[in-house]
């Protein structure tokens, strides 16, 4: 992938209404995203699929969202995204400790949360290890497909 192509992609992104472009060529993948606040972080939900929140008596929230830990400037953060639509839980049970806290270092394949959909409790693993910089969703809240849940800084 040459520089000219990269510049061309940037121009396309700037002029378009989409927030992100991802291109893969010869094993090299480049993702370009617009940097406006809030954009690209929460992709819009699928038009006809909605989420019903869990009933109020279950899963009293641990104190979330946790404050963000400062990340090194310029470091590319890894995003853990939700693979399904469902309800986000930070802990396996209401009285249990959360799987991860901000500032904690996690290993690749560590379970970081549960997403419940249709009474199926799905443990979500992170594919990259590092320090948890930010938890973007509150316990017990609905999440959409591909929504960013955690930001992880490589260590």
């Amino acid at each position: 992938m040459n520089l000219a192509l990269l510049k061309k992609l940037v121009r396309i992104l700037e002029k378009s209404s989409v927030d992100e472009i991802e291109v893969e060529e010869d094993g090299l993948r480049v993702r370009l995203a617009k940097n406006s606040p809030g954009r690209g972080v929460h992709p819009p939900p699928a038009p006809s699929t909605v989420h019903a929140a869990a009933p109020p008596e279950q899963a009293p929230a641990p104190p979330t969202p946790a404050p963000a830990a400062p990340a090194e400037p310029g470091v590319k953060l890894h995003e853990v995204r939700s693979p399904i639509v469902g309800t986000f839980y930070r802990a396996p049970a209401p009285e249990a400790d959360p799987y991860v806290e901000v500032g904690e270092v996690v290993q690749p394949k560590a379970v970081v949360c549960i997403i419940e959909a249709m009474k199926l409790m799905n443990e979500i693993e992170t594919d990259a290890g590092g320090r948890v910089v930010k938890i973007l969703v509150e316990n017990g809240q609905p999440v959409e497909y591909n929504q960013v849940l955690f930001l992880i800084e490589p260590v």
């Binding site: 006809s48 989420h51 279950q58 399904i84 049970a93 409790m121 799905n122 693993e125 497909y145």
Partner: protein, 275 residues
């Protein structure tokens, strides 16, 4: 196939042991999808927890964990699940369905229609299904299902289907009279746990191809036929926003279709209350 007499010996004695399933000769491939061993435990904290450990250690699909007593039976999000020792069927089944995450919801309907089929065969009456995975008899809950899966970056890992079916228990302290029932309460007779387990594994095996082939039509048809909420007014709390409408049906991925004044919406998570 499970050696039912040996299973009965273990369950009646309340002792631990492992039975290997054998596949009868001449059976076509796919007709006996569950070939894992059946582990019987006199006491366990939770059959789901043990099944997860076995899954992590590479146990084959169809591995069954049964407990005479559960000391820390779990419901959804850590809710307790109480059962008198030896009275009910407390089991977990290990599945490796190899389906994409968006199709996982069908597992809840699959489990509930399989349980409903067993309940109907034993009671001779009808069982009802409430979205997504409750099985009811005359408005009372007879079964608790807790399914768990691991979603890895590579896709869906093991799925643990935890099923607690009320068999011979007659009273349910802490629950209103209208809250729970059992096969014993519905038929007036005790039922053999080994027979109920083999029957349930048979029903689950019979429908498993619909899950792995992602051909949910049969499961959805069966669920729809038994539904106690379709056509009813329902209310769903969506993160503080109420969706109210009529339960219209179930989408191919198991989502509940609700007709609202603003159009049809598919609900995939949370509890639905009949309005």
């Amino acid at each position: 196939m499970i050696d039912e007499p040996k299973l009965r010996q273990l369950l009646e004695a309340g002792t631990s042991g492992t039975l290997q399933q054998h596949v009868p000769q001449g059976r076509p491939p796919g007709s006996a999808p569950f070939r894992g061993p059946v582990h019987v435990f006199s006491s366990l904290d939770s059959t789901n927890s043990r099944a997860r450990e076995l899954a992590a250690a590479g146990a084959p699909e169809g591995t069954v964990v049964v407990a005479h007593v559960q000391t820390a039976g779990r419901g959804r999000q850590g809710r307790g699940w109480m059962s008198e020792p030896g009275k009910n069927l407390l089991m977990s089944l290990l599945l490796r369905p190899g389906i994409p995450p968006e199709f996982l919801g069908i597992i809840s309907l699959y489990a509930s229609v399989s349980v409903a089929a067993v309940v109907e065969k034993i009671t001779g009456g009808s069982a009802g299904c409430k979205w997504p995975n409750d099985v009811m008899v005359a408005g009372r809950k007879i079964c608790g299902i807790l399914s768990e899966s691991a979603l890895t970056p590579e896709g869906v890992g093991a799925v643990i289907l935890g099923i607690g079916l009320n068999v011979n228990q007659e009273t349910f302290p802490g629950l209103p009279d209208t809250g729970a029932t059992s096969l014993r309460l519905e038929t007036g007779a005790d039922h053999d746990l080994a027979g109920v387990l083999c029957s349930l594994i048979g029903e689950l095996a019979d429908r498993y191809g619909s899950v792995t082939r992602r051909d949910s039509g049969r499961i959805i048809d069966e669920w729809t036929r038994r539904s106690v909420i379709l056509g009813s007014g329902v209310r769903v709390d969506r993160g503080g926003t109420i969706i109210a409408g009529t339960a219209l049906g179930v989408a191919p991925n198991g989502a509940l279709r609700i007709g609202t004044p603003d159009g049809v919406v598919d609900v995939v998570a949370g509890e639905v209350h009949i309005a």
